[in-house]
């Protein structure tokens, strides 16, 4: 099954943590569900949560914490969990 790219829907600043004192939303190698938040993008002083969008293993982040991202830019890659056909 094809790898799933998580893209930022908006331009802004990319964050891996909900706030500077908390743990990251997700670590590389971690299993996530489609609804799990994996990062934040800050645009014009408001923070938008970005969900994984697919269940599977979060293989890697493509940008660093606090990097500037464009709308539509891939920020992480997921290896979807393969559900075997019955």
């Amino acid at each position: 099954m094809a790898r799933h790219e998580i893209v930022s829907p908006i331009p802004g600043v990319f964050y891996r943590r909900p706030d500077p004192d908390s743990d990251p939303f997700a670590a590389e190698g971690q299993l996530v569900t489609a609804a799990d938040t994996v990062c934040l993008v800050e645009v014009m002083k408001s923070f938008h949560q970005v969900a994984a969008g697919a269940a599977g293993t979060l293989i890697e982040f493509l940008v660093e914490n606090e990097d500037v991202v464009e709308a539509g830019q891939p920020v992480a890659v997921i290896e979807p969990t393969v559900i075997e056909a019955g």
């Binding site: 908006i10 331009p11 802004g12 600043v13």
Partner: protein
């Protein structure tokens, strides 16, 4: 004051640079990478790049900004609003570097910035604060006794709780007797603490603020502004004077603001915010802001006083030039905050490329902006594109002129809140000035439901 560094960006940086130049003071702009081509950079005599685009690495980099000021030979720093404007440590650092901070002393910023301390100062100056229990009450008997002092209706909330959780509004003693036990039990279950706070509940509150100017010894007020039209605590439309208070409230409220500013030896421009109970006409101190505010032009248009220029004069060591009896409001001013947000998508921020821009002009129309044709709205800062401020001889003509001015405004490329204001002007409740702090959000909810 010979050379002023403006530690800000956007429309307020442009505004401050203009005031300084009007006074013959040289200006130094600072800018991030994203703002290299911004108007405030071009309008200033010199400009210094202070860091990458995110504000945390540029406009909030206090040490870098102070170093830039020193290197540029500035003898004063104006912080504008937002960013470093109300950080006492920044004000202190500017002073320590041998420059003038355009604003009150760090100790005053500290005192007013802490809500609990500010309320204590206000109470000591005889200014009403919202009545409530200082500490939680443990049982119903104590609650009923406290309620006798506070008055009804009142708000019952868990002493240990945060946010809006478990808040109940009760209208009278019977209501309190009915609600207290359950509320307290819930609080005990949720937080391990059954104590309850009681606070007067204001069903229909207006947000009215008083502009003050002080020179450290004397203080004058420059009238009030009505700021009730808010969405998620962000003001969207402001006006001066307030259509919702009478002469008695105005006299008492402005006197209270002056008393508070005097009590702390206030220097510079500042704002004292009040909640006004629309039913009882009581007013209560909420907080003081130690900066120039976004909506200051409404006050300028009705009084003819350049508040930023007065800030600069006082910072340069001059005493206040205006006596209270020389300050009068004439006519009516309304400000619309035109933001790069999409009202159709729950006000989603909308940075991006801007094409054509046509700004309103003509008699009694002022536009404070940084926006230019063929520019870009960066995603890194607030969404304010322009403040459209109109004056009229009375509220009715100010509204008519607002209609005209909004009709002249064109911004292509990004959605803005301007279209929403055109609709707002047609609402009967706006026309009569009968609104409170919840009205705008209710109107937006009703529109959303009607559209779906």
């Amino acid at each position: 004051m010979k050379r002023l560094l403006v530690a800000n960006r956007g429309e307020i940086a442009v505004r401050i640079i203009r005031a300084a130049r009007d006074l013959g003071i040289a200006t130094v702009a600072v800018h991030s990478t994203a703002d290299a081509a911004a108007p405030h950079v071009r309008l200033a005599d010199t400009a210094v790049e202070i860091g990458p685009s995110p504000a945390g690495k540029s406009y909030l980099a206090a040490d870098t900004i102070i170093e830039a000021a020193r290197a540029a030979g500035a003898d004063a720093v104006h912080p504008g609003y937002g960013f470093l404007a109300e950080r006492a440590a920044f004000a202190a650092a500017v002073a320590d570097a041998g420059m003038v901070f355009v604003g009150p002393d760090a100790s005053v910023i500290d005192q007013m910035g802490d809500k609990v301390r500010a309320r204590q100062v206000a109470a000591a100056a005889g200014i009403p604060t919202i009545p409530g229990t200082a500490a939680g009450v443990a049982d119903l008997a104590a609650g009923v006794a406290a309620a006798g002092e506070i008055g009804y209706p009142l708000m019952l909330k868990a002493a240990a709780g945060g946010g809006g959780r478990g808040i109940r509004v009760v209208d009278d003693e019977a209501g309190l007797r009915e609600a207290f036990g359950t509320a307290s039990k819930e609080a005990a279950g949720a937080f391990g603490d059954g104590r309850m706070y009681l606070e007067r509940y204001i069903r229909r509150a207006r947000h009215v603020e008083v502009q003050v100017l002080g020179d450290g010894a004397d203080v004058v007020h420059v009238g009030e502004r009505e700021c009730s039209l808010q969405r998620r605590r962000q003001k969207m439309v402001e006006e001066a004077p307030s259509p919702g208070i009478d002469a008695d409230v105005r006299t008492a409220m402005t006197a209270a603001a002056v008393r508070l500013a005097r009590a702390v030896g206030y220097r510079s421009a500042g704002t004292v915010e009040f909640l006004v109970d629309d039913e009882t006409h009581e007013f209560f101190f909420i907080e003081a802001n130690t900066r120039i505010q976004v909506e200051h032009p409404t006050t300028e248009l009705v009084t003819g006083i350049d508040l930023v220029a007065e800030q600069l004069r006082v910072a340069a060591g001059e005493p206040l030039r205006l006596r209270q009896d020389e300050i009068a409001a004439r006519g009516w001013a309304i400000e619309f905050r035109v933001c790069a947000e999409d009202p159709a998508r729950d006000f989603l921020p909308a940075p991006g490329r801007v094409g054509r821009v046509l700004l309103p002009a003509g008699p009694w129309v002022r536009v404070d902006t940084w926006l230019e044709p063929d520019s870009a709205v960066p995603p890194f800062y607030d969404s304010l594109l322009a403040k459209l401020v109109v004056w009229g001889e009375d509220r009715h003509s100010a509204i008519r002129r607002s209609r005209r001015a909004l009709g002249e405004l064109t911004v292509e490329g990004v959605p803005t809140t301007a279209g929403l204001f055109a609709d707002l002007l047609e609402e009967p409740w706006f026309g009569t000035g009968t609104f409170h702090t919840g009205t705008l959000e209710q109107w937006l909810r009703d529109r959303r439901e009607a559209a779906s």
